[in-house]
């Protein structure tokens, strides 16, 4: 339907297109330089070299040592490994984990799994903007606490958590601190050293790299069990033949992202603020979800009362605009987003959320188009909605 139409892609928090330079850098490692880094001959040694140089480059980008970088299959594996690996390795010391109510499912569900295994889990509430409170977190710490996991930035509402402060508290108490930085790496400045981070998850396809490859940073001295058992890869901690091309792609993409970060942050912030101000002023009964300032440069999340999110997405799709919603109707479940409920939205309002996430290829013209298109769509859906009081003057369709 949209094949012969220009696509306006505003779902970069879901995934991003791989850069042509990234794909270019990966290609030799599928056929010409395919050697297994664990083998002994020359083409294998070349592969080993490439993996290690990628590791060094990722370490530089994060402010880590190369020996602290472990390649994984992506954000979900990194989160699962960090949480289960640390929990089980420290089980004799304690069985209490602290996390937040707005974590990604890749953190939330492993902690629920651990709760079934007999661990106790504290799910810290967040305020109406999505911020976790470091003071409340410190109060939740017990002698049995062996892991704190708080995301760097939320994937739905874009709120940036006070990780440095939380990391400091964790370190003062001698508790490992993990952060799911999948939405943050390559998008905001971050340093595992300065931010007091012991474990950090990232995923290449969120910063114009390939899908299926990620990293878990593990600070030297952190007690953690392996997650995948098998071969001796990744210093005996993560078995499985290295995803050679993927690792090259990840490192290349991260290089580009870090280089362009200051410029992209400015550009995306400008687009973000145009979208937020434009939509809130042109559509009555709308509200911004997430923090107004402590917010990812590329995240817009707005609830439109009296309409449902999936029908907004379908309407936008007819204009070639790709977006996302926290409504239950697209999630495969019947519950709206746990994040939107955690910041205090009613089910009704959570159902009417629209998330637009920006990326490098977006332009001013695209933002204009979105600002011109959305009010009409909301107006049309509200005209159909039995909930809409219709007292306010609606925008022209």
């Amino acid at each position: 339907m949209v094949s012969d139409q220009r696509v306006i892609y505003l779902d970069h928090a879901a995934t991003t297109p791989a850069r042509p330079e990234v794909v270019e850098a990966m290609l030799p490692y599928f056929h010409d330089r395919f050697g297994n880094p664990s083998s002994i001959y020359r083409i294998a040694r070349e592969s080993r070299k490439v993996v290690e140089s990628a590791r060094e480059s990722v370490a530089r980008a994060l402010g880590a040592e190369p020996g602290e970088i472990y390649f994984t299959s992506g954000g979900t594996e990194s989160d699962n490994w960090a949480i289960k690996g640390v929990a089980f390795a420290n089980r004799k010391r304690g069985d209490h984990i602290i996390t937040s109510a707005i974590e990604h499912h890749a953190v939330l569900y492993p902690t629920r799994y651990l709760a079934k295994q007999g661990f106790s889990v504290t799910f810290l509430p967040v305020d109406a903007t999505g911020l976790a409170d470091p003071g409340m977190l410190e109060d939740a710490i017990t002698e049995k606490t062996t892991l704190i996991s708080i995301m760097t930035a939320n994937n739905e509402i874009g709120t940036i958590e006070p990780v440095r402060e939380i990391g400091k508290i964790a370190r003062d108490h001698g508790i490992p601190f993990h952060t799911d930085a999948v939405q943050a790496v390559g998008h905001i400045p971050l340093s595992v050293k300065d931010d007091n981070i012991d474990l950090l998850s990232l995923s290449a396809h969120k910063f114009n790299g390939p899908k299926g490859v990620g990293v878990l940073y593990i600070r030297k001295g952190t007690r953690i069990d392996p997650f995948l058992h098998g071969g001796a890869q990744e210093r005996n901690r993560r078995a499985g033949t290295e995803n050679l091309a993927g690792i090259v792609g990840l490192a290349t993409a991260l290089d580009f992202a870090v280089q362009s970060l200051p410029r992209e942050m400015e550009r995306q912030k400008r687009f973000r603020d145009r979208l937020i101000a434009g939509l809130l002023s042109s559509v009555p009964h709308s509200r911004l979800n997430g923090h107004p300032e402590k917010r990812l440069p590329g995240n817009v999340n707005i609830s439109f009362e009296y309409v449902e999110g999936e029908s907004i997405l379908l309407s936008l799709d007819a204009y070639g605009i790709c977006a996302s919603t926290g409504s239950a109707c697209t999630s495969g479940s019947l519950e709206p987003s746990h994040v939107l409920l955690a910041i205090g939205l009613t089910h009704e309002v959570a159902h009417g959320s629209l998330r637009l996430t920006l990326g490098e290829e977006n332009t001013d013209e695209e933002i204009d188009t979105v600002l011109e298109t959305v009010p009409g769509i909301i107006g049309k859906l509200r005209a159909m909605s039995p909930l809409y009081p219709g007292k306010e003057k609606e925008c022209h369709v």
């Binding site: 019947l334 909605s385 039995p386």
Partner: protein, 145 residues
Amino acid sequence: MYSEKVMDHFANPRNVGEIENPDGVGEVGNPVCGDIMRMYLKIEDNRIVDVKFKTFGCGAAIASSSMATELVKGKTLEEAWEISNKAVAEALEGLPPIKMHCSVLAEEAIHTAINDYRVKQGLPPWEEKSPHHHEGGEGCELPDE
């Protein structure tokens, strides 16, 4: 994920709106669950001569409402009562399993509107066949408050 028929009825819904002084109105669903459907009927000589709807919900909910109004228009009340959620879904060239409850909602909206008319006429409401006769419609469970 949606058939072309669903997309057509979503993008160009038939019979949207309200009827002034309707003979029967049925409202079903719950905003908490993300869909609410209201159906208005104009009835003459036991026949549905006009029908309108308003729906808050996903694409499937809007398309199901639209299709349901097309199916009942011109029918006698007995004929309209027999239109099942399955018939609505089939007329839409199918719905994804997770969306079948939208067609259930459409059937319930028809039934509720017809019974609203019957009660207003001083007639006993017709009884639902059985609470479990729907095919593939998962309900939304309201959260505990």
